[in-house]
């Protein structure tokens, strides 16, 4: 009997380079103690991490993107 040891269960595919980069930047901003939406969006923009359209994030575009990626 082979035992089930599957590290990745929350998504069928691994994260894309874009997702990893964005996630890393989010962690970096959170790590400074900034935990509110406006501060997070500003922090991402300050780091030069743009939205997929190349535009700076706004609270709306960021929350839309997160809603899509949280599923």
């Amino acid at each position: 009997m082979s035992l089930y040891l599957q590290p990745r269960q929350a998504g069928t595919t691994g994260p894309t380079p874009y997702e990893l980069k964005l996630a890393g930047a989010i962690e970096e901003v959170f790590g400074t103690g900034v935990h509110h939406l406006e501060g997070l969006v500003k922090g991402l923009n300050d780091l030069g991490i743009c939205s997929p359209t190349g535009e700076p994030w706004t609270p709306d575009t960021f929350t839309d993107e997160m809603r899509r990626m949280a599923a």
Binding site: Q6, A10, P15, A23, F30, G31, M69, A70
Partner: protein, 343 residues
Amino acid sequence: MVNRLNKTALTSDEIFATGMRNQWHAVCPSDFVARGDMKKVRRLGEDWLLFRQSDGSLRMLADRCPHRGAPLSQGQHLGDRVACKYHGVQVDVGGTVVSVPGMPGCNLEGKRLVTSLPVREVAGAVLAWFGTDPDAEPGPLDLPERLVDDGISRFLCYAEWKAPWRFTLENLLDPMHGAFLHRESHSMFGGETSAKFRIRETDRGFFFEKTDQRGVNFDWVEFCRTGVDWVDLEIPYPPTAGPGGSFGIVGMGTPIDAETTAVFFWRYRRVEGWERDVWRFLYRTKLEERHWAVLEQDRVMLEAMAADADQAENLYQHDLGVIRLRRLYRSQAAAQAEALAGA
């Protein structure tokens, strides 16, 4: 352990080794069995067939053909029945023989000869009632609120460990190991490495908790018996995990057999709106991998422990939770064996 047919002969030691009867146990993640599919699992030392019909409903049958005992799991899914591969006998989802193709009119037809367990699907997992009397109604199932509360976001992590089920539960009733075994982890590096503990009774079980530290490491655990046995605990995240505070775990451990355990960890966080979405995104991209690394520390330790590790211990105050759990299961196993012997 061999497939067992007659449960009435179970001894106290056998029950202690393969799990408590007359309660619900988590079986596997729901997505292990697709629509129109079936899957074999071993739980509590016996083999079972999970069978999902095309309407999505799930059934669980003993994996043993009533004719000559071949595994039904090797047979064919016929929508609302399974046909045994050996001689074609057909058993419906309730366990009744509906056709003996080689011998039409055979007196097996119409008889309910295969055990069928009541199942429920909860928070992405299959739960089943393992009763000693196949004809008795299942007992009530009171679900952990963490698994049903809409204000809580959760992911199920499932794994199978080559360790006795009691070791996996005792590990959860042992919060102090967080500060040592998991010191090199993303979430359990903080807090004192010495502590005092106490047991606090609740109407569904008990808390085992540090008296002098809370919210720094793995500092408390609640053990609950609500038709299914589960633990609840909380562990702080570092600031990089964003708003929402600690993450929690609802844990269950179901014996596969005496040596192997199916472990279920629902990692949850009280987050809504964009905070929920960001947590879920971070979980998928970053956190899941780190949580897994912590779980592997537990697995490696428990799998390396001798099967009789608990026969030569020198326990101290931190082990009160473990002692309490072990006594509870020991006496329940004895009571169940006695009831079975008298039945």
